[in-house]
Every structure is written in C-alpha cells, then in structure tokens.
Amino acid sequence: MAVDRLESLLKDAFPDAEELSVEDRTGGGDHFQVTLAAPSLNGLSLLDQHRRVNAALAAPLSDGTIHELRIKTRGTT
C-alpha cells in the first residue's frame, strides 16, 4: 500500500513526530494528504517545512506513486 510506504518514509525522516498521518484522499492510491507536527520543524518557515516533507518523499514523488500531494505541517511550540 502506498499509504504505508509514505508513512514509513516520513517516520524515518521525522522520528520525533508528535502527529503524523497520511490519508489517501480519493481512495485511488495516488492522491495524498500528509499531516505532520514535529519538534524538528520548530523555527522553520512553512516553505522549509514543506521542503523537508518533499525531501522525505522524493522517491515516491519522482517514480509516479504520488500524483497529488497536499501537505499540512507545523512545529510543536
């Protein structure tokens, strides 16, 4: 399942995550909503927070697994 793969990649990249979910928005297995809150995002701009998520998901973004990605991130302070 693509959701599991995405979740595991994000868990590896953000072991400190206090909130982490990957939702298959359409049930089609290629439109995803990532929601993430982690202390390691504290102090980063929204742009840099999203860059960190994009970097963690670079493989599924480039191999066509992810057709659409929505990201909602925040620090924990």
């Binding site: 742009l47 994009n54 670079a58 659409e68």
Partner: protein, 125 residues
C-alpha cells in the same frame, strides 16, 4: 542551462508574481492550480501564469530551477513562495498580502492584471 530553462528562470526573476500551473487562468486543469490562483486573486496579486502542460519539458526544467517537485509553484520577485498549500495558508492568515506589500510595494494591487506567458515561444529580437 537550456534555452527553455533560461526562459523559465527569466519569468521567475522578472515577473512580480509568477504562477506555474496546469492549464491557464482561463482554463484551469487541476484543483491545486485552482487553489493557488484563487489565493493569489484574493490577495489581489498581479499574476503571470505559465501553463506547464504545454510541454512536459517545462515541468522538468522548472523542477531543476526551483528544486520544488510539485505543481503549482508560486514565485514573488524571484523567490519561491511555495505550492498550493502554502499559498492558501498564507492567504488565509493574511501573510500573503503582507508578503506582496513588502516585496512589490504597498500599491501592488493597482497592477493586478493576469497574463499568460508562453515559454515555448521563440525569443523576441
């Protein structure tokens, strides 16, 4: 850098607000491009749009220039603002208007017309 890459970079660097999207503001081909455009319109931004669906090479070159993997992409004065989610979040919090005022000047809304640039067109002499 390829000629196309250079043209993309020129749009990013020279347009006050550049939106790389699927489709055009008149014919939007993707919900995320729609969200980004709506957010920019609400903030009164002068949007210059590039339709990345015109040629697959545009998306490839754009990703190399910006380092951002998804479409749409919004730039203000040469700097990446983000994709649809960030643009929408910034619009909802009011930060987008603040950012536009800071980078384009307080009267940026006066020039808020939309236009489309064709990066595939031959260079003008």
């Amino acid at each position: 850098m390829s000629e196309l890459g250079q043209k993309i970079k020129d749009v990013i660097d020279n347009e006050p607000v550049a939106l790389f999207m699927k489709g055009t503001p008149q014919f939007i081909m993707c919900g995320n491009s729609d969200r980004a455009l709506r957010a920019l319109r609400e903030a009164g931004a002068p949007v210059t749009a590039v339709n990345i669906l015109a040629d697959p090479a545009i998306r490839q070159e754009l990703q190399e220039v910006s380092g951002w993997p998804t479409i749409p992409q919004v730039f203000v004065k040469g700097e990446l603002v983000g994709g649809a989610d960030i643009t929408q979040e910034l619009a909802e919090s009011g930060e987008l208007a603040t950012l536009l005022e800071q980078r384009l000047g307080a009267d940026y809304r006066a020039s808020a017309e939309e236009r489309v640039v064709d990066v595939l067109a031959p260079a003008q002499r």
